[in-house]
């Protein structure tokens, strides 16, 4: 069912916390603020639910970029979840960079429930960045790439 085999269609996983960013994505939708269909959202209760394992798994399975979105610092529904996420991801991303998964392929962004515009902008930027980086060749289980 692929649209055009020649064109690079990145696989992008976006983890969005239920309380802010998922709602922000909903608002982007109801405001009809487009971003590329390459982005697929997974709903998690809080950004702190995102286990580094999930991100490694995504890259292993052929993702070209992973973005984690949560509430703004101080606004996490569970008070402190996004602080944990921020620390964990800082560490993970620098390790991934060291392993050849460039920093541009991973991102943490704070998007509130009211920021539909920011959600769409962020996704547009992120997809553009992934396009500039091209396909991810590191970490990938070669059997997953076709």
């Amino acid at each position: 069912m692929s649209i055009n085999n020649e064109e690079f269609r990145p696989k992008i996983v976006a983890f969005c916390c239920n309380w802010c960013s998922y709602a922000g994505a909903d608002l982007a939708g109801s405001s009809r603020l487009a971003y590329p269909a390459d982005v697929k959202i997974i709903r998690v209760p809080c950004s702190c639910r995102v286990n580094p394992m999930f991100i490694l798994r995504a890259f292993e399975k052929g993702a070209d970029g992973v973005i984690i979105c949560g509430c703004h610092p101080g606004d996490c529904h569970y008070s402190t979840g996004n602080y944990y996420a921020r620390r964990r991801m800082t560490l993970l991303f620098s390790m991934l960079d060291y392993m050849g998964v460039e920093n541009g392929r991973t991102r943490v962004e704070w998007v509130s429930a009211a920021e539909g515009v920011k959600f769409s902008q962020t996704m547009n930027e992120f997809v553009e960045k992934i396009h500039s980086l091209g396909e991810n060749v590191r970490l990938g289980d070669l059997r997953c790439k076709n």
């Binding site: 069912m1 692929s2 649209i3 696989k11 996983v13 239920n18 309380w19 802010c20 998922y22 709602a23 994505a25 909903d26 982007a28 939708g29 109801s30 009809r32 603020l33 487009a34 971003y35 269909a37 697929k40 959202i41 997974i42 709903r43 998690v44 209760p45 809080c46 702190c48 639910r49 995102v50 286990n51 580094p52 394992m53 999930f54 798994r57 995504a58 399975k61 052929g62 993702a63 509430c71 703004h72 101080g74 606004d75 996490c76 529904h77 569970y78 008070s79 402190t80 979840g81 944990y84 964990r88 509130s112 429930a113 009211a114 920021e115 769409s120 997953c144």
Partner: protein
């Protein structure tokens, strides 16, 4: 293996116009576990839900995937439908193919492909779902209202009238809020105190209402239906039970130089004071920073003159701990600081004032006893210029991006009141737009222009320059005539933007309620749940949620009360079953998880385990389901991978990742 039914919704044309729903049905039918797939016009309708029930019965479904709008919209609807059809409600997952797909993509092929992938992810998840069973928790039949402005008072009265106990916590020495500072109110021009004071009295006299003034919320724990709150009653230095409110102490107090907060610092008050004459309770407090006794140990005049023997210099702060089922936030607003707006010369001239200061000046109990006069020299003004939108609708970061909503109306009110009482005073209003969308509001504004001859100029003020002769040179533009205007004024009044009361940030953090980038509290849904916070059991009343005038505040206060009453009327609540759970065999009792849990839900127990035939007693993490809110922090922090979150388990999320990256 699950037996999964997939239901693809057209949502009229909302989905079907961009997503080829037939194709989605065809594609998902091939997924593992799927035994039934169909599409329908409106899945959320009666008929749509009936289709689910039918399929459950016919095909013996154990799991359901609905491809539709956001789960934030209809997750509950479909869970309830599943329950009615006889399957566990937590066996339902939703693929959001409207907000996250059809509404943002144009290309049908692309959108359809994405919808299929989102559906696959949901199917992969449901394959790993397990039935979950919500627990029950009790409801404490008492409400807490934080903030005693008109919003808090109205909410408390409505809840109390329904028969429930209510406590109001107000941080200043009296309830009343900003409304008690206003002189007259638009659009009817009735006197603010005349309509507010009876409500304050009613609240104070109500047998179901307890008022804690000069008090603050210090700590909140627990959850919907069962919050535990510590209230700090600050030391008043006056025994409220003995004080008769005679006021002699305030008269005799020799320290009279403290700026009056109530009069916005335009005059002073004594160290022992009640903020205003109609204060409730009518019991003064000693401002320890201004009191000579507290500063030097000498004085003690108030103690000597108090007939009732109510003065108590040794009084300490007191912590009251109370349980509540519901909490209403009504912390209101303040006007913004004008430090970023040097061009209006607010800090240079006493005759440049804010509108709230003008309210005090116009009020008979205010610093000028209600006479309109210049604060610099006490002279009667002849030219007054009003500047609208000071700090509101601001495109740079000096001010606020939003419209403060009330300023157009109160400026029209001020202009009219001044022209009515002092026909010799010329009033000019500089405005960007006049916004009067309310009942009888435009008529009110037109009266100001047509009957009272207020001079409205469309344009902004660039600068206010204090002149050596004491006047103020106002430099502005007239956009309609396209010319510069220079006007000599005696007073300039700034319609200053309003912002949420600063302490709302701490309150929101304590309640884990969310606030937006402007510090206004966020509602659970901007249209459909406007008075509820996303945090269960927390409700919003008044300007803390967004700019409002009094009628709107009172309406919202009533709505918040109804929501709180709806909660208090229940005896039991069902709790979220998506809680954390430690695998007994993997947990090594390291305590890492308990350290990150924001709710203190994790404790440790010595448990008998059977680890592949080895029977021993181990220290194991146990999650209290009533306390766990399901954030998942512990699951990621656990070094042994023992902790997992039900409903969002590691395996489920990985299955979604796999489906998306396939």
């Amino acid at each position: 293996m699950q037996r999964i039914g997939v239901f693809v919704c057209h949502c009229g044309s909302n989905i079907a116009a961009t997503v080829d729903v037939k194709k989605v049905v065809e594609m998902v039918a091939m997924e593992p576990g799927v035994v039934h797939a169909e599409d329908y016009q409106y899945m959320c309708s009666e008929a749509g839900q009936a289709k689910i029930a039918e399929a459950v019965k016919e095909k013996n479904l154990t799991g359901i995937v609905v491809c539709s709008c956001s789960p934030r919209m209809h997750e509950n609807t479909f869970r309830t439908a599943a329950k009615r059809a006889g399957i566990n409600p937590y066996m339902v997952e939703i693929a959001n193919i409207r907000e996250h797909c059809s509404w943002i993509h144009k290309n049908v092929e692309e959108a359809t492909e994405k919808a299929v992938i989102l559906a696959r992810a949901a199917i992969a998840k449901v394959n790993l779902n397990a039935p979950l069973f919500p627990g029950e928790s009790r409801v404490t039949k008492r409400a807490l209202v934080i903030g005693g402005g008109i919003a808090g008072i109205q909410t408390a009265l409505d809840i109390a009238d329904a028969g429930y106990e209510v406590d109001i916590v107000e941080k200043t020495p009296s309830i009343g809020g900003r409304m008690s500072q206003l002189d007259k109110t638009f659009p009817t021009l009735d006197c603010s105190a005349c309509i507010l004071t009876p409500k304050m009295v009613e609240a104070a006299a109500h047998e179901k209402i307890t008022i804690y003034t000069y008090s603050e919320v210090e700590k909140v724990s627990g959850f919907v239906g069962d919050f535990t709150v510590d209230i700090r009653k600050k030391a008043r230095s006056v025994d409220a039970n003995k004080c008769t409110g005679c006021g002699v102490c305030q008269e005799k107090c020799p320290s009279k130089k403290a700026p009056s907060e109530f009069n916005r610092g335009l005059n002073t008050r004594s160290a022992i004071y009640t903020p205003f004459a109609q204060a409730i309770p009518n019991v003064p407090v000693i401002d320890r920073d201004a009191c000579i006794k507290f500063k030097t140990g000498k004085c003690g005049v108030c103690e000597k003159v108090c007939q009732a023997g109510a003065i108590d210099y040794t009084q300490q702060d007191e912590i009251v701990t109370q349980k509540y089922g519901a909490i209403v936030v009504a912390t209101g607003f303040d006007t913004i600081k004008l430090d970023n707006y040097d061009e209006y010369a607010y800090n240079q001239s006493k005759d440049v004032i804010t509108s709230l200061e003008l309210e005090r000046i116009m009020n008979a109990a205010g610093p000028t006893k209600g006479h309109l006069e210049r604060l610099s020299d006490g002279k009667h003004p002849h030219e007054i210029v009003f500047v609208q939108c000071v700090g509101s609708r601001c495109s740079d970061n000096r001010g606020k991006s939003y419209c403060s909503k009330i300023c157009c109306m109160y400026t029209a009110k001020h202009a009219m009141l001044i022209r009515d009482k002092y026909p010799d005073v010329n009033v000019t209003v500089f405005y960007i737009d006049v916004r009067t969308p309310g009942k009888n509001f435009d008529e009110f504004y037109r009266r100001a222009v047509e009957e009272y001859g207020v001079n409205y100029v469309k344009g902004q003020v660039g600068k206010v320059i204090p002149q050596p002769n004491g006047k103020l040179l106002v430099q502005g533009s007239d956009l309609l005539d396209n010319k510069q205007i220079f006007k000599e004024a005696d007073m300039v009044v700034l319609a200053t933007a309003i912002e949420p009361e600063a302490s709302v940030r701490q309150i929101a953090t304590m309640l884990t309620a969310s606030i937006d980038t402007n510090n206004f509290l966020t509602e659970a849904h901007p249209k459909l749940r406007p008075v509820e916070s996303p945090t269960a059991g927390v409700f919003l009343s008044g300007v803390c949620q967004g700019p409002k005038d009094i009628p709107e505040t009172v309406a919202q206060a009533g709505a918040a009360a109804v929501k709180a009453i709806g909660l208090l009327a229940k005896d039991k609540l069902t709790t979220n079953p998506c809680t954390a759970k430690a695998d007994e065999l993997m947990c090594n009792g390291c305590s890492t998880c308990a350290n990150v849990c924001p709710y203190g839900a994790i404790s440790y127990e010595e448990k008998e385990v059977n680890d592949h035939g080895i029977r021993e007693t181990r220290r194991i993490a146990v999650v209290n389901n009533a306390l766990c809110q399901g954030c998942g922090a512990c699951t990621v922090t656990c070094p042994s991978g023992a902790m997992d979150l039900q409903g969002f388990s590691n395996r489920q999320i990985i299955a979604e990742v796999d489906a998306i990256c396939r």
